[in-house]
């Protein structure tokens, strides 16, 4: 059961606020609406119409916080609020002049009211925000959460309800080493992830891409999904000897001429390349769904999300918004190496290396408002001039499978060298993406007002659970990739041909390069036999999609 706006709660009003609203309704708020002043960076304050400096009625002071009584509009400074409250009976509510926040004299506390916030927000909407999206806007009836249709899942046969009798141990099916064919650990690591990404494994193991019918198509049309299907069959066959994905490598090189060479390569690049090939294949075979414009290929169903980019003019506050699809999010490390190095060379203070990098720090960095330099002025449609602007990214729609890629390289323009950043990055196993959603970012921009901002209709859970980590060790030129997979609450290390059991701590300690999180869809049961579902560490009601184990 979902609330409409799940990310925050409406606080219960204090008695004084409740009384005030009963007696006066919204009249007081409306009278303030005309005196609200908004700034381009989202702040609201109260301004006197004749621009006189507001002064306290009792002491004539103008310093500190000033409050305007909602009933009689007399101004009090913070020292004399109680005085006003005592002298006039029932005058409990006021508005902070500086921040347009409700203040209760009697409780001596800031209080919150959705109606007041709505009044404030309406001023913002009138003043500055004109939504202009450059891609076609969708109708609100369309489901906005993760692009997989839940009805599809119902049609899928339940997986793994019968234990494979051939396996000598109790290990889950689908664990099989992949031979290194010569510098192909980048490929093996990502393949292991694909093999255990629930939407992909459901798709291929349920025979949604049939090699027999596919091969009937004209020869010469390459089909990478067929080769992926072959790998799935091999790895889930129950055979323990490591498998050589040679046919896949051959196919992939035929598809991607620019990446076809015997050399160490980047796992992320390979990941993107494979998703592109799967998408291309689906696109050719069926006409794109014109209604939604959303691609229905399995690659996009699983990984595709949507990012929102807001560019705000610093002068007038006009915001232009664009939406872009994405299959992953590349994050910069929240490190200060460059800056601290500069400082260290000037002063004798030792470089502070105690600050830790965290994934939430990287995500904060990704979604922070960024001032575009004066050499990067953009044209503002409102001002009809080139203006300096602020850009902010946020996530409009979360994918079903979230791939986070850490950009572990930095390039020094001075020395014209590049190096890998080995800095440890803390990453959680359970991730809540709410603070990075467009609805939260926009709300935060306007002071976290209680207001149903665009994007709040998202019904899907924003909670994610990790299931795979691709980690890198070594340098930019030469290194090694390893994948950690979590199946049935047990972590396995997939190092080319070697699959070993490892404990959680080793995974937490690894140098993560790509992390894969699966969206938790609450309590959706495909099959009564849920023995193959991983148990959430916090034992809450959320369950993952019945995945392969």
């Amino acid at each position: 059961m979902f609330q409409r706006n799940p990310s925050y709660s409406n606080p219960t009003p204090c008695n004084h606020l409740a009384d005030y609203k009963l007696r006066y309704g919204l009249n007081g708020y409306k009278s303030f609406q005309n005196h609200l002043k908004t700034t381009p960076n989202g702040r609201t304050s109260i301004q006197n119409p004749d621009s006189k400096l507001p002064r306290c009625g009792s002491c004539d002071g103008y310093e500190g916080r000033l409050y305007i009584c909602l009933i009689c509009a007399s101004i009090s400074c913070s020292n004399h609020t109680l005085l006003h409250n005592q002298s006039e009976n029932g005058h409990d509510l006021a508005v902070d002049v500086e921040r347009a926040e409700l203040y209760c004299y009697a409780c001596s506390d800031q209080v919150y009211d959705p109606d007041f916030d709505r009044t404030v927000m309406s001023k913002h909407i009138v003043a500055a925000v004109l939504e202009k999206s450059q891609s076609a806007e969708r109708s609100s009836k369309r489901r906005r959460f993760g692009s997989i249709d839940l009805l599809d899942l119902k049609k899928l046969k339940p997986l793994m309800s019968v234990k494979d009798q051939r396996s000598k141990s109790c290990y889950p099916l689908g664990l099989r080493g992949l031979n290194n064919l010569g510098n192909t650990c980048f490929m093996n690591s990502v393949l292991q992830v694909f093999l255990h990404t629930p939407p992909l494994s459901n798709y291929f193991l349920n025979d949604q891409h049939n090699r027999e019918t596919c091969s009937k198509r004209p020869i010469g049309q390459l089909c990478l999904p067929c080769d992926i299907d072959r790998i799935f069959s091999a790895v889930f066959s129950g055979d323990h000897m490591p498998y050589s994905p040679a046919q896949f490598l051959y196919s992939w090189w035929q598809h991607s001429a620019n990446l076809a060479f015997y050399e160490q390569q980047d796992a992320h690049e390979f990941f993107i390349s494979v998703l592109d090939r799967i998408h291309e294949r689906e696109w050719k075979s069926r006409s794109q769904d014109k209604e939604n414009g959303d691609c229905k290929c399995i690659a996009h169903k699983a990984f595709s999300g949507q990012l929102r980019s807001d560019v705000t003019c610093m002068t007038c506050g006009f915001t232009s918004t664009t939406y872009d699809p994405c299959v992953d999010i590349s994050l910069d490390l929240d490190t200060h190496d460059f800056l601290s190095r500069n400082i260290a060379s000037k002063s004798t203070k030792p470089v502070d290396s105690s600050s830790k990098s965290t994934l939430s720090g990287c995500l904060d960095l990704f979604t922070r408002p960024e001032k575009l330099g004066s050499d990067q002025k953009l044209f503002c449609q409102n001002c009809q001039e080139m203006r300096s602007s602020v850009k902010q990214m946020s996530i409009r729609r979360l994918p079903l499978v979230l791939c986070l890629h850490i950009k572990r390289f930095e390039h020094s323009f001075v020395r014209r060298t590049s190096r890998k950043i080995d800095r440890y990055l803390q990453f959680p196993f359970s991730l809540d993406m709410i603070p990075y959603l467009s609805s939260s970012i926009i709300r935060n921009r306007y002071g976290n007002r209680i207001f149903a901002s665009e994007g709040d209709e998202i019904d899907a859970s924003s909670k994610f659970e990790i299931f795979a980590v691709v980690s890198h060790s070594g340098t930019l030129e030469s290194g090694h990739y390893v994948t950690y997979l979590r199946l049935r609450s047990q972590w396995y290390k997939c190092d080319d041909a070697w699959i070993t059991e490892v404990d959680e701590e080793m995974v937490r300690n690894s140098q993560c390069y790509m992390m894969f999180y699966l969206q938790k869809i609450p309590n959706y049961k495909l099959n009564e036999d849920l023995s193959c579902l991983p148990i959430s560490p916090r034992n809450d009601t959320f369950q993952q999609i019945a995945g392969c184990c």
């Binding site: 925050y8 709660s9 310093e63 800031q110 919150y112 664990l175 080493g177 290194n180 064919l181 010569g182 650990c185 980048f186 690591s189 323990h240 040679a246 046919q247 035929q254 076809a260 015997y262 050399e263 390569q265 992320h268 993107i272 592109d276 980019s309 872009d324 994405c326 999010i329 910069d332 929240d334 939430s360 720090g361 904060d364 922070r368 960024e370 990214m393 930095e410 590049s418 890998k420 440890y424 803390q426 990453f427 959680p428 196993f429 709410i434 603070p435 939260s440 060790s473 030129e477 030469s478 090694h480 990739y481 396995y492 290390k493 070697w498 699959i499 959680e504 701590e505 080793m506 300690n509």
Partner: protein, 192 residues
Amino acid sequence: MSMPHEDSASSHTQLSFNLFGDLLDSVIADVASECHRIARLGLDRNLEEEEEELRLSAQARERVADSCNSSEANGKYVVDIFGQTHPSVANEIFDCMNCGRSIMAGRFAPHLEKCMGRGRKARPKVTRSSTAAQSRGGVLKWYIRRPMNKKEGGPNDCHSMHPWSPRSTSICSKISSLIAGTIMRCLEAYET
């Protein structure tokens, strides 16, 4: 002669001191108001879970640092979950699908490269040393070289000059960054 000069200097000092004090008070009240709102509306609900994750990670770091970890070493002597061991260079033999010859798995990629006539010709210019047999294929690439994926347009400079540390999950860091942001906004407001 110097006395009045000193007086005006000290009154300037006093004035700027007062001004700074007012600014600081205003900023602190701003931050308090923001944090109050965030806390009251429950927007920082996940604080406990985040703290727990941080604690688990820190614990993991300590434990692994203590024990001397030999499993990261060369996989030659490692036994996998099925009780098998494997040579460091895969020795499965199969036929090349391009030319039909029997090739050993661990040497398949270099063979295929020559066999298909790819590699050196098709590759764009990148200055990176080609590998020896020791390393097994792991490289980090440029963010720039992505062929098809439309990027989110984030800045490519890894050394952005934003001096304030982004919010981490502890309350203190949140507040300090809020203070920082508020100070910047104040300064901007006073600029205009």
